[in-house]
């Protein structure tokens, strides 16, 4: 192989020069959909989002309906299970200890978990961005102080923090509010911002020194205008990439807490809560029945793995499209 004249590899999907120009995000979208992995990821995410939205339509049974005549059924394709029962085509993935349809529970779990991932991440992103922007732009002593506080949070073993905070609030009125969903969201927001704040801060520190900021200042732009018009837009791609990786992380944390038995409080009455169960809750159910009924664990774990991979594909592609230099950071 000769190594002398290496033709530069054209980036897949780079727009030809003759095309009319688009805005940045239109451009990003066009480049994104030319990457196979990104399209796969987007499709998987769209699928799970659709399942989440259409849960009541898609679920074949009421996820809370007890059925004592058909408890612990194996998946419908199993002729004879370890407990000696035969699968029923009515219950595609079988039923759990209380005779509830596993597939329906999985569909409703998708709804809650997707909601947790998609709702916390924007909140966390706003908090993290504001702190990072503030610390980076203020600089000096104040900025340093903020970043030292961030360091403290960073050193805290995150998973232990989640465990501690859920246990603290679990028995209180706030903890029981929305079956523990409020506590979970609070815990995720309280510590999730740290990573983004650090990233934004270091980005702002370098943007602040650039010439366009100097130019803006020389024509008399106020600090607020500089931050809003010049600094923030330049951090935006960083924030978007971070969000793509943060969403699955939030879903995973919920799943870990659920697996440990300190996630959402199990719902038995559908009028009680909007959310029936989560993937984490299903993990716990599956853990209890692991020996006789591995499908109860396998089904939600595969969903979590699939969603995690989908977001990673999209995040990777976004990073390559928006800013390949960030490869070492996120």
């Amino acid at each position: 192989m000769t190594r002398f004249a290496q033709p530069k590899r054209e980036e897949p999907g780079a727009p030809a020069l003759s095309q009319p120009s688009h805005g940045l995000w239109t451009d990003v979208w066009h480049r994104l959909v030319r990457r196979k992995r990104a399209v796969f990821g987007l499709a998987v995410i769209a699928f799970f989002a659709l399942v989440a939205v259409l849960a009541p339509v898609l679920a074949p049974h009421d996820p809370l309906q007890l059925g004592f005549g058909h408890t612990f059924l194996p998946p419908s394709w199993v002729k004879e299970s370890a407990t000696g029962r035969v699968g029923d085509p009515q219950f595609l993935l079988g039923t759990d200890t209380a005779g509830r349809d596993i597939l329906s529970r999985l569909i409703y779990g998708t709804r809650a978990s997707m909601f947790i991932g998609l709702s916390t991440t924007p909140i966390v992103a706003v908090v993290g961005t504001l702190i990072g922007l503030g610390a980076g732009y203020a600089g000096g002593r104040q900025g340093n102080l903020i970043m030292r506080v961030t360091d403290v949070f960073y050193a805290f073993p995150a998973i232990m923090f989640y465990v501690l905070i859920t246990l603290t609030l679990r028995e209180t009125a706030f903890g029981k509010w929305m079956n523990g969903l409020a506590t979970l969201l609070l815990a995720l927001v309280l510590i999730g911002w740290v990573g983004l704040a650090r990233l934004t801060c270091s980005a702002v520190l370098s943007i602040k020194e650039s010439q366009f900021v100097e130019a803006a200042r020389s024509i008399g732009a106020s600090n607020r205008r500089i931050v809003a018009r010049h600094v923030l837009p330049n951090c935006l791609s960083l924030i978007v990439i971070w969000m793509a990786f943060a969403i699955p992380r939030m879903i995973m944390i919920e799943a870990v807490l659920g697996y440990l038995g300190i996630g959402l409080i199990p719902v038995v009455d559908s009028s009680q809560s909007f959310f029936v169960t989560t993937w984490g809750g299903l993990f716990l159910d599956g853990r209890m029945a692991i020996n006789t009924h591995p499908i109860m664990l396998l089904a939600p774990t595969l969903c979590v793995a699939l969603v995690g991979m989908a977001f990673a594909f999209v995040g990777d592609a976004l990073r390559d499209v928006l800013d390949p230099r960030m490869r070492n950071l996120i």
Binding site: V152, A155, P157, I159, V163, T168, I295, T301, M309
Partner: protein, 336 residues
């Protein structure tokens, strides 16, 4: 360099202090004490602890004192009934265990069973598991990355890259669960969750699960940096002077490609130590993670605090060590 290290070491003090303070406050803000948890009630249904006993217990562990006093007592020490000063955390006393009467948190974490060497203690069980996971991750990850780079754009490369992407994007505990569920449904002959941990072979599955993410990251990083090095001028020179391909790969490419991988080691180890506790619980591994989850359920305050502090200290220490290593490897940092 030394100055930098000392400064960082001093920074670890407020960090660890805050960790302890936050954990302490959270624990004590929770309603209910260590002797009226749900488990306690489940263990002795219908029998709740009478007031007198509870009072004695609360007094014995100073839980009847104001919160700040308890905190000071835990951190620095306090006078006991006889007016003698009893030193707290700063002397290295982690406090008594509430759950096992007469046992100390220290003993539960670092004490080995009768007649066993020190590495049989909970703490060192976790450390050993983390180190084994790191070892497996490197031994599998590096060759996988090198192979993928050498066979770029073949199906081997695509396969390794796919598995690596899977390992990075899916957390190790989900992979562990999938593994357990598949092994159980396939009906394997051996027990996935072993009864005894004295046999070294049973350590392998938990260690692989724990280190899977690190393995994937190592493989991906090795591949990326190998691809970069393969195009370097010195490799072309080595080829031009007619060196054997094997020598080029091992002495010229790998040696340079591994530098970024070395920088991954520290964060990876910190992640393995901190991330172990779900994996430990999953496999019933008798390490610090299981001790932590147990103590959380039983509200064994001193043990929870000690374990949290230990995890935070380990992570901080490893990060410090990494910075130090960077300084040694990279003269640009040393100059600062």
């Amino acid at each position: 360099m030394v100055l930098l290290l000392v400064r960082r070491l001093f920074w670890a003090v407020p960090v660890l202090f805050t960790v302890v303070a936050v954990a302490f406050l959270l624990l004590h803000a929770a309603p209910g004490g260590p002797w009226d948890t749900r488990l306690q009630k489940a263990a002795m249904p219908g029998i709740s602890m009478d007031e007198a006993t509870r009072k004695v217990l609360y007094h014995r562990f100073s839980l009847d004192k104001p919160l700040w006093r308890q905190f000071v007592r835990y951190l620095f020490g306090d006078l006991d009934e006889n007016g003698h000063f009893v030193c707290g955390l700063i002397c290295g006393d982690l406090g008594p265990s509430y759950r096992q009467r007469g046992n100390t948190a220290q003993n539960m974490l670092f004490g080995a069973p009768e007649g066993k060497p020190f590495w049989e203690s909970c703490f060192f069980y976790s450390i050993r598991l983390a180190l084994l996971a790191l070892l497996i991750a490197l031994v599998v990850g590096i060759p996988a990355g090198v192979t993928a780079a050498l066979k770029q754009d073949t199906w081997i490369d695509h396969g390794i890259t796919l598995i690596a992407t899977l390992g990075i994007s899916v957390p190790n505990f989900v992979i562990g669960l999938i593994l357990i569920a598949t092994l159980v449904s396939a009906g394997v002959g051996f027990s996935v969750v072993p009864r005894t941990w004295s046999d070294p072979w049973v350590w392998i599955i938990p260690a692989v699960v724990l280190g899977f993410g690190t393995m994937a990251a190592t493989a991906r990083l090795t591949r990326a940096s190998m691809l970069e090095v393969m195009r370097a001028d010195f490799v072309r020179t080595a080829r031009a002077k007619g060196l054997a391909e094997q020598t080029i790969v091992s002495a010229h490419m790998l040696r340079n490609a591994l530098i970024p991988v070395v920088t991954l080691l520290g964060p990876a180890l910190a992640e393995l130590v901190a991330g172990s506790f779900v994996i430990e619980m999953m496999f019933g591994f008798p390490g610090m993670g299981r001790l932590y989850t147990d103590s959380v359920i039983w509200k064994d305050y001193p043990l929870i605090l000690s374990a949290t502090l230990l995890y935070a200290a380990l992570v901080t220490l490893v990060n410090l060590g990494v910075d130090f290593a960077y300084g040694l490897l990279d003269p640009r940092i040393r100059a600062r």
